[in-house]
Amino acid sequence: MGEPVLVVSDLRAYYRTSAFGIEREVRAVDDVSLTIEANEIYGLAGESSSGKTTLIKTIAAAIQPPLEVLGGSVVFNFRDRRVDMHGVDRQHLDAIRWKNLSYIMQGSMNVLNPVRRIRHAFVDFAFRHIGKPMPLFLAVVREHLERLHLAPEVLDAFPHQLSGGMRQRVTIALATVCRPDFIIADEPTTALDVVVQKSVLAMIHEIQRELGSSIIFVTHDMAVHANLTDRLGIMYAGRLVEEGRTADIFRAPRHPYTAHLIASLPRLGDSAPKKGLDGAPPNLAEPPSGCRFHPRCPRATERCAREAAPMASLAPGHRVACFYPEPERSA
């Protein structure tokens, strides 16, 4: 194992707005550090307003006002180059986009241009990277589609002629046609029905294994993480609170928030009562002092209200931001 593909260090990204004379600052991502190795699927979990969407926007350098990056860095080590995402100009970013770094977005209607055929999407996104004349390029695309068990005829379809699941498969093919080093997948199965969801996840898994790319896979659905990811990071209120191997986290979560999330997961064949959690995720314009989970935390003490626990290693490869982590359970 070589260098990590992605190194995120002390990243802070806030939304700063000023409307009708009122200044607001939403601390969507606060001091997040993580690394992602080559050939792994890293899961990022969190509820709405946990900051996970902002974090991947920042990783992708898709920053638009009012979002601002206030500190930290995002560095990729691709096969052929090293890129500090917030330290290079747009031309450099455009050069790596799709060749080294691609995206799969939520499988809604609108990811593909509604007025153009699928073929044009492949040409627009991938043609410049493949470096072959058009007929050969299209042959490459067809071959890639076939490898993913998609009929090459989809190239002549308009997006609205495809079902939701088919559109999502097409975007996965689009995202992988250039064999990128790194893929950002943002809730790619959220809008899909369960049967389709399963086959799409299988497709992502298969192509990842074949290409050896790394994927950061974002979803709020813990069951998806359990089935797909190698490592898992849990975000709460703009901060990473726990990170470790997926199997370890599900077996023995150490942060009280993670512990609750996993304990409350409904399972088929299990009707034992599950406990709910009081309160609500905090407003990130006025986050609570100290640990942002402390108002809802059953284990919180005075100290948690005063200071935020830093991410600390409890076991090899398992980090938790909590002064009073859940006791370790043996397997």
Partner: protein, 283 residues
């Protein structure tokens, strides 16, 4: 409501500029109540006097003090615009809300008729109307006619808002809370329609004043009631431009252009304000 206005004035330059422009125009029109001369009297002052301290806007070839005459004219013009706007708003609101809230066949039928009124060129019809009425033409009649023809575009806007409101879940919550249809339309939906209603009112006043000025300039209205258009009509009749009496045209045009831009700025700034979420973001 008042807070909204205050915030708009403080933070929206377009809105503030529109209010200032319209304020000047409105204040000027109020001066007509203090006019020393009745509006239709001619040759009460020496004709063709350029703007001076005695006659701030000069006098016309017909011996009228343009300053006072213009105050009457702008008052009538504004009044005309408001009458058309209010009458056509009633039509647009009823048709838009009914079409949107009923949906289905009612909606489709109403919108077909609606689109027809959008497409039909109104100017030839208004000219035809004048042609038939001739000396019986009055601005009241014209206002009525224009209100009957000028509701369609705005009805479509209101309908699209009503249509989306109908499918919102809170409408169902209202129904299952036992609220009556009237209560839902008035209390739940109207707050969303009001900003649109306001901005379309401004646009509609603009539209009707524009058409009135145009018809008057051609002499296709009652040319004995002073409006901005009628003023320009008489100036043209006396070839004021060729005769070098520029002020006779300059001040009416200046005033009416101020009105147009003022109303338009209000409509535009209101449009920006329509998204109710931006309003909630501040509280």
């Amino acid at each position: 409501m008042w807070r909204t206005l205050r915030d708009l004035l403080r933070f929206n330059r377009q809105f503030a500029a529109g209010i200032v422009l319209l304020g000047i125009v409105a204040a000027f029109s109020c001066l007509s109540f203090f006019s020393p001369y009745p509006p239709n009297d001619s040759f009460v002052v020496p004709p063709d006097v350029p703007p001076s301290w005695a006659y701030p806007m000069g006098t016309t070839s017909r011996g009228q003090d343009l300053f006072w005459l213009l105050s009457f004219a702008i008052r009538n013009t504004l009044l005309f615009g408001m009458v058309v706007a209010i009458l056509s708003r009633a039509l647009a609101l009823v048709i838009g809300l009914v079409a949107g809230y009923s949906g289905g066949l009612v909606d489709r039928a109403l919108m077909s008729i609606n689109d027809t009124f959008i497409v039909i060129p109104l100017f030839p019809i208004l000219v035809l109307f004048y042609f038939v009425m001739r000396d019986h033409m009055s601005w009241g009649l014209l206002a009525l006619m224009m209100a009957c023809l000028g509701w369609a575009y705005d009805a479509r806007l209101i309908r699209s808002v009503a249509l989306s409101l109908r499918t919102r879940e809170f409408t169902q919550t209202g129904i299952f809370s036992g609220m009556s249809t009237r209560q839902i339309l008035v209390e739940e939906h109207l707050p969303y329609v009001l900003p649109i209603l306001f901005s379309t009112t401004m646009n509609n006043i603009n539209w009707s004043i524009g058409l009135e000025v145009t018809l008057s300039v051609l002499g296709f209205t009652d040319i004995n009631t002073p409006t901005i258009g009628v003023l320009i009509y008489w100036a043209n009749q006396h070839t004021a431009l060729v005769a070098g009496i520029w002020w006779w045209l300059f001040f009416p045009v200046l005033l009416v252009v101020m009105t147009f831009i003022g109303l338009f700025l209000l409509a535009v700034s209101m449009n920006e304000h329509i998204d109710p979420r931006s309003r909630l973001g501040r509280s």
